[in-house]
Amino acid sequence: MKILIIDDNQSITDMLQKYLRIKGFEVSTVNNGRNGLAAIQKQKFDSVLLDLSMPDFSGIDLIETLEKDGQLGNQRIILFTASSISNEIINSLLKKEGIHSCLRKPVNLSEIIQTLSLV
């Protein structure tokens, strides 16, 4: 299973990459929204773990761009978000095609595996 992790915190992406690779996933990581968008446009991932709160080009900007370009429905995005994002925003994003589920940070590692197994 090919996974892309988009999160501006490199310590988080390094740890998750190591963890998920040991668990047998093929993992790529990027540390900003624009590189995330480029990676998604370049190749198909089975699942994308997307941090919503990133500076400059956030996860929400990325979702809006994919939606505008008609590419959102082809994705399986798991939102990966801090508690500062309101439930209203999360719920409206979850209604969009291509948005699979939401994991609230700080997330438990087994919860990530469980969610990925449902994608």
């Binding site: 988080i12 740890m15 190591k18 963890y19 040991i22 508690s83 500062s84 940070k105 700080p106």
Partner: protein, 246 residues
């Protein structure tokens, strides 16, 4: 009059802005505290659970497990401090849902069964009937968790008993968490809800901590329209009660 209304409106908007800033600040602090903890505990899990066991000696493995335990404790303390701050500044949003108390209590006592076994203690769940309430399940769990954790600090070794049950009145439901612990002097029970208060700070003290559990319970219960109180007899045990409006 128009000026007064205008000033009042500005003042209200300013207050709302401050509330939002407080909320945002708290969530940033929470995020900044918890992210490094998640990273450390993640690496501990990789080392202890995922890599081949023969790569590490027993001492190394025990040391990593010690780090993971310390991190879990630090995470718990951080959550308590931030929760209390959020509750006292009234920036916690409650998420009320319909809860079947009997099913909820089965989950709760199942979660606690291994903890009770490790302490040779018994948790009696006296909630046997289906009963529905509208409450925040996460906060209800948190309150019961604090009360049971507290009871565990005072029960006797090998023969400790903690019982959770319910009483109904016309207007409210009353939960109780009863233990057969050492009990609390009568004049101390009211002080238990004060922040940082710990019974017996010296020789008999078995439980170290910040003493934030009961003040957090009080804030949660009162903000959800109930009340919490404690009855205790030294040498016999303690019962914590809390009410939930119907």
């Amino acid at each position: 009059m128009t000026d007064v209304n205008g000033n009042l409106k500005n003042y209200t908007q300013e207050l709302q802005k401050l509330e939002r800033m407080k909320e945002e600040f708290l969530s940033i602090v929470k995020h900044e505290f918890s992210t490094p903890l998640v990273i450390i505990s993640g690496y501990c899990e990789i080392l202890t659970e995922l890599l081949p066991k023969d790569n590490l000696t027993k001492d190394q493995l025990d040391s990593i497990k010690g780090i993971a335990k310390g991190i879990a404790d630090l995470d718990k303390v951080t959550t308590k401090i931030l929760d209390l701050y959020a509750l006292q500044t009234k920036i916690i949003r409650f998420n009320k849902q319909q809860i079947n108390i009997r099913e909820f209590m089965i989950k709760f006592s199942t979660f606690y069964s291994s903890i009770m076994d490790s302490k040779d203690a018994k948790l009696i769940n006296s909630v046997n009937e289906d009963y529905f309430i509208t409450y925040d399940p996460h906060r209800l769990w948190q309150v019961l968790d604090f009360l049971v954790e507290n009871a565990l600090s005072f029960i006797p070794e090998k023969s400790g008993i903690v019982e959770i049950g319910l009483k109904y009145t016309d207007e409210q439901i009353i939960f109780f968490v009863k233990d057969n612990g050492s009990g609390i002097p009568y004049n101390e029970t009211g002080k238990l809800f004060q922040i940082f208060f710990q019974i017996d700070s010296s020789k008999q003290r078995k439980h170290f901590g910040l003493g934030l559990g009961l003040p957090i319970c009080k804030e949660i219960i009162e903000q959800l329209g109930g009340r919490i109180w404690i009855k205790s007899k030294e040498g016999i045990g303690t019962t914590a009660y809390f009410s939930i409006p119907k």
